[in-house]
Structure formats: structure tokens, C-alpha cells
Subunit: 427 residues, 2 copies
């Protein structure tokens, strides 16, 4: 065998698996068809966070009493900074893999049989294969030439008028950011409400802020066609046509298994996903699949975790996934975070009762802590600035089996957003 | 008896004790000589966080590639917003106390005997007394007419040139904020380094950023005199004189026990502090002291916690303080947080390895996790943006007896600053 493990795809899961396996002295080959680091680092969560951060700061200053700001944003210059920032992260990841002895080949990996992967017309054998080929945006027949996450995050001019098809987390994050940067924004969602990924309480908090920002939300609305000739014309059922200079399509993502040679190794599928067990192992015992392609929520941190579980199993340490405290974070305004599960019993504290939020001129949102019969922490939904940074407290509480009083009695620094968790937990 | 409990001082500890006791059906009197909410809410942590937030946003945009900003800050207008924001917090606190049945009297409370407190020439008896009179800035003989925290946070014009005497957390927080708002800033510290409250690693991270910002730091330097005639002239040993339009004195705080009538009840002191046991009880068994006046770190969240402990004991529930995961947070650049204790063994991850920080154009800092012989989490020192929001994770880990692997295996959302804790904990 040429390698112990061949990893197809260097995204969040792939590079983390490589790092982990190489640290355990496995001989690792990573095959990457585009950019090292995959979708999240290059075209997804990292660039979008940079854009959102920028838009939030501008909006905060524009709405702060006593402040008058004028600014000029050279988005082309900013993109250069962003690309260099992303390059540092992906470069560090690639260098770290190589420093631990992993080999990286650029090209399209294809499974030939259960121990063989080809790339650039050469075949490599390995004892194990990990598939981490990620996902691609859903495209709709007949709708062409629109923007997807890659194009919108690489844009070099703020759109004058932006129509977003799909009110899930990507659409709402991007829509909010461009609205704060000056675009006129329309979001068209087929379902009855935006952010169907999260419970209604949380999406309503965002809804209210979107309205305040002047974003036009059309729910229960179906796009019939998008035509481009110069500008775009978007035809929506029961609505007037919208014209726009940019149309973003964000109606979901599907696993990326095209031309992967799945059938050559006899790997079972689960719909469009590769079927895996709790070890992240496919029906072919030496082949694993992790991250978006393997089902479950399409989140980079889920891919990280999958990578760890698959790697441990490959190293002979029996490890099974446990997603019970998997967080979901949406970088909207307010920022939405959720982990664990909902229960009938909960404590809810309005953001208005959190002094740190008020110092940031923010008061829309809440802390909602779910608990079980015995007061044990079961989950939380938080709509608050920086909620992404405090949700792991709840994850740890769930994992450690802590109860409301444990959280209330842990001294939280004042003034912080995280105090809201403590205060909400008071019995 | 007129009341079950008389609380002298409505600061962080006082109002929280009132809320807690009133909830437990105790008849409570709160005596406040100035503003409800005390130093932290009115003149300390809350206004300073608002100012720091403003300065950070401006600095972030001014240094962001591709951005050009011009702004005009009408500090007078901003102060009105800040005062109204503070008013909401203090108003809510006062209303909440009253809604639960507590009585509030404005005036200077004086202890007459172990069951009697006078205010506005009237005497009130109660079964218990809680002293929460807080602290005041240290003043130096012969140095007059300078700014302290109250004056600097109420200022209505950005100083052209600001000299800060004392490089502790107040001096460095305020100095950084005004530098980012355009002031020329000099910080004079008697000790060998700034931020002597925290370990050297942490203060060095701030030191480097202060230098980048162009703040002049003079350590091991003693101020000999401050003269005011129009501008200030500050004479410093072994240095040239400094002139300034504003001089901030921040050389520490002392407990506030003046005219409190301590001696009338025979309460023991511990130096300038009121001596208390683990129940926050003084030597006089029905009199408690909490917060700054009772010793220990002068932090609002310490006062909150003391208030809870004293209240529980008054309600007959034997409760003893346990400060082992008490956090300390300094809102500098980078933001500094510490909890627990240092040990010989630690894991350290540079901020450069944290993608979320890079999206914020921040890379100076680190995550340092201390652990004991068995890998149990003992403490942490973090220099990172928003570290105040993530330090409670460590507090919870300490309280729950978790180890490095527990933290590493708890899925943290990506991309966040809090991921740095998980990544640092990898074994």
C-alpha cells in the first residue's frame, strides 16, 4: 500500500483528519481538486464572517447617537485583504498537514476500488479512504447566471439592488450584511418564515430586525423565473416582478458525489448522501465519509468532529459520534445560536435585561434555556450579540450533566453577554 | 423591627441582595446616598464598556484595508445616549427591587447599633444589616483637580493630550479607548509593568498593542507632582515634564467606610476592609459585608456573588463563598480574561491559529489553558477579542471538574473565538 489513509477533499473535515492521523504517525495522502481548505475557509464561513463583521461595525457607528460617519469602501481593496487573510488560514492548514508528513496532491480524486484512488491519471493504494467531498449549492433548472455563495462573497462592488432567493441562514446573513453596506435587499422564501433551520422564537427576533433595517421579506413566495439581460428580472408568484443588479441563489446545498467513483467500491447511499454509521464508516469497512457528504447538518464544526471520530476509529480506538450538543450558529442581527434540544420547560430572559448588550446599543433578543424534569440543562436558543461565543457554555453543561443552579452559581464576569445565561438560569 | 434586612448601598451587591431577599419574602430596606446601582452601573464598568465599544469599532474601521472613514463624534450627544442607557439599567434594577416589595431611601446610612441604621435623621431597625458601601478612588495628597473614573467617563470632549497616572486595568482600558478616539496618551506606572493584576504573559500582549497604537508607556516611573494652571504639568522622576489637557488618576481604589458608624456596632476591620468570614458575615453575627468594602478583588461580579451568599445565609441556608473560578476581565486590546489558578503545566495556542480572530483583523494574543497532573482544567489566561465572553466556559469546567479532553470533545461552533479553547485543549 502507498499510504495508510487517502483523504479525498481538504475541507474542514479532510484537513483536520489529516492533521489528526499524521500526528498518530499514519502515512496520509490528501487529494484536493480546487483550493486547500475547501468551501468553508475559502468561500463560506470565513469570508462571510469578515464581511458581516465589517457591515456590523459600520451599522453600529451609523446608528450610534452623537456619531456622524462618512466612509468609502473600496471593495476591491478589501477583497485583496480578505483573500490574503483566507490565504493565511488555508496556508497554515496546508503547511501544518505537510509538516506532520501528509502528502497533498491537487487533482480530482476518483475511487477505483476499495483500496485505490486515482488522481491526475495515477493510482494510489491505501489501507483506508476518507471521503470529505463536501457539498455544492442547489441549482435550479432554467435559472442561470445568478450568484451563489462563492460569487457573492467575491463581489467587488456593493450591489445597488440585491434579490436573494432563499431565506435560510446563508441568504439572511448575506442579505443583512449587504443591507448594512447600503444595498436595497429583497429576500424571497418559499416557506412560511425565514430561517426554517431554527425554532420560530429565534427567527422572529431576526425578522423584526430585518424589518427595522428595511429589508423586504417575502415568505410563502415562489420564484417563477430569473432572466438576465443587463440587469436581472425576477418573476415571483403573486408579486410584482423585481429587477436587480445582483441575484443570489441560496436555496440549500447538496452533497457532492459527482464523478467520485462511489459505485466502484460498492458504497451504499442514503438518498444523495453517503450512508455512514456512528463510526462514520460506510458499508465498506475501510472507507469512511465525513462532513457534508455524509449527512446531518452541513456545518464545518460537524465536519471537524466527524474527522476526529473517523480518525480515531482508523487508529483502532472505537469511537462513536455523539451530536447531542452540536451547536448551530447564524451570524445575523441578532446573532442566533442553538444547541441541545428543546423541552417543555424553559427559562427566558429578554436581552433588555443584559447590561452588556445595552452598552452595544442592542436590545432585541433573548436567552432561552431549556431544562428537563430535574433542572438539568437540555439546550438553549440565544438571540444576542456574540451568542456564537457563549453557546459552548451550554454545550459543556449538557455534556457534563449540569443543572440550572450549577450555571447560576458559576461566577460570570460583569458586564458580559454570557451573564445572560447565568441570569436566565436563576431558579 | 421595622425591616428584616437593611442594605446600605445599592451598588452591584446591594441591589442584587435586595432582589434575592425580597424574592424570599424578606422585608428589605435599601439606603442609597447617591445613584441607584452604585459605581459600576453609573460610573464604572457600564459607561466604560460603551466608550470602549465605540473606540474599538472606529479603530477597526480605520485600520481595515479598503475602508476610508471620516467621522465626527459629538461627545456631548453621545453622553446623553450613554446616560439614558445607564438610566435604563439602573431604573430597571430599582423598579425590580421595588416591584418585589423592597423600600428605597435616598440618604447617607449610618449604623447606630447592631440593629439600627439612621438615614435622613430617622432611625430604622432590622434583624440583619448588609453593608455594601463599595470603594472610592485612591487620592494622593497634593494632587488636586485631576480626573478620576467618574470625571473621565463623563467627559464631553476628547482630550487632546491625556496623561494617565496608574497603569492598572482602569488606566489601560481608558487610555486605549481615548487613543483610538484620537487622543495623545501617556501612561505612567510605578511598577515594572502595566496590568500588574495579571500574569506577565497577558500584560505583554497588551503592551505590544499599546506600542502599535502609539501610546507612550512609562513603567517604573513615579509622578512627583501635578500642577494645574489652564493645562496640567505632570512632573515625573527621571523624565521630562509632561503637559496635558486632561490627567486621569487611576492608582487604585480603597473601601468606602467613612462615616458608616462601623465602631457603633463594634465591627472588626481587616486593614481598611470590613472583616468577613466565608459566609460574608462580620464578627457581629447579624451584620454582613459584601463587595468591594469586604475585601478581595473589587469586581461587580464578585459583589453579585457575595450578595447571593450573604442573602442565602440570612435566609438560613448555610452557604460559603467559593471563589476558585472567579474571573477577571480587562477590556483592553486584546481583551484579557483570567480565571482559576496557574499551574506548571499549560497548553498555549497563538491567536494566529484562530480563524475567527483573523476575520476580525486581529492576531495578537493567545489562549493559555492551565491543567493539573491528571489533565483537569485548573485555570486559563486568554488574550483575545471577546475573551470576556468565553472565559466562563473555563469557570464551568473548573467547577464541574472537567479535563482537557472533555473540552476538546465538546463541539464548538466554527468560526468562533471560543474554538481557541477547544483547540488549545487538544492533547
Amino acid at each position: 500500500m502507498d499510504y495508510d489513509v487517502t483523504i479525498i477533499g481538504s475541507g474542514a473535515g479532510g484537513y483536520l483528519a489529516a492533521l489528526h492521523l499524521a500526528k498518530k504517525k499514519k502515512k496520509v495522502l490528501i487529494i484536493e481538486k480546487e483550493k486547500f481548505g475547501g468551501e468553508c475557509l475559502n468561500y463560506g464561513c470565513i469570508p462571510s464572517k469578515a464581511l458581516i463583521e465589517l457591515s456590523e461595525s459600520i451599522n453600529y457607528l451609523e446608528t450610534m447617537p452623537g456619531m456622524k460617519i462618512n466612509y468609502n469602501l473600496d471593495l476591491n481593496e478589501w477583497q485583496k485583504w480578505k483573500n490574503s487573510m483566507v490565504g493565511k488560514i488555508t496556508g497554515n492548514a496546508e503547511r501544518a498537514c505537510k509538516a506532520r508528513g501528509a502528502n497533498v496532491i491537487y487533482g480530482t480524486g476518483k475511487i477505483i476500488n476499495k483500496n485505490t484512488v486515482s488522481v491526475n491519471n495515477k493510482e494510489y493504494t491505501s489501507q483506508f479512504i476518507i471521503i470529505d467531498t463536501g457539498s455544492v449549492p442547489v441549482k435550479i433548472n432554467g435559472i442561470n447566471d445568478v450568484y451563489y455563495n462563492r460569487e457573492i462573497l467575491g463581489i467587488e462592488k456593493i450591489p445597488k439592488k440585491l434579490v436573494i432567493i432563499g431565506g435560510g441562514y446563508i441568504g439572511v446573513e448575506i442579505g443583512t450584511a449587504f443591507r448594512k453596506l447600503g444595498s436595497e435587499v429583497h429576500i424571497v422564501e418559499m416557506k412560511e418564515r425565514i430561517l426554517p433551520e431554527v425554532e420560530e422564537d429565534l427567527s422572529r427576533a431576526v425578522d423584526r430586525k430585518l424589518a427595522k433595517l428595511g429589508i423586504n421579506i417575502m415568505t410563502s413566495s415562489r420564484v417563477l423565473s430569473v432572466k438576465k439581460s443587463g440587469n436581472y428580472t425576477v418573476k415571483i408568484e403573486n408579486h410584482d416582478n423585481l429587477t436587480a443588479d445582483v441575484v443570489l441563489m441560496s436555496v440549500g446545498r447538496i452533497p457532492n458525489t459527482e464523478n467520485l467513483g462511489i459505485e466502484n467500491a460498492g458504497i451504499d447511499m442514503d438518498g444523495k448522501f453517503i450512508k455512514t454509521d456512528g463510526h462514520k464508516r460506510t458499508n465498506v469497512e475501510n472507507i469512511y465519509a465525513i462532513g457534508d457528504v455524509s449527512g446531518g447538518p452541513m456545518l464545518a464544526h460537524k465536519a471537524f468532529y466527524d474527522a476526529y471520530v473517523a480518525s480515531e476509529n482508523i487508529c483502532g480506538n472505537n469511537t462513536v459520534t455523539d451530536y447531542k450538543s452540536m451547536p448551530l450558529v447564524i451570524y445575523t442581527d441578532p446573532e442566533i445560536s442553538f444547541t441541545g434540544k428543546t423541552t417543555e420547560k424553559y427559562k427566558k430572559l429578554p436581552l433588555l435585561a443584559n447590561p452588556r448588550s445595552l452598552t452595544m446599543n442592542q436590545s432585541d433578543g433573548f436567552f432561552k434555556i431549556y431544562y428537563d424534569e430535574d433542572g438539568g440543562i437540555a439546550g438553549a436558543g440565544i438571540a444576542a450579540p456574540r451568542s456564537s461565543e457563549i453557546i459552548s457554555e451550554i454545550g459543556i453543561a449538557i455534556e457534563a450533566g449540569l443543572n440550572l443552579n450549577d450555571m447560576f452559581l458559576t461566577i460570570h464576569p460583569h458586564p458580559t453577554i454570557s451573564e445572560g445565561i447565568k441570569d436566565a438560569c436563576e431558579e
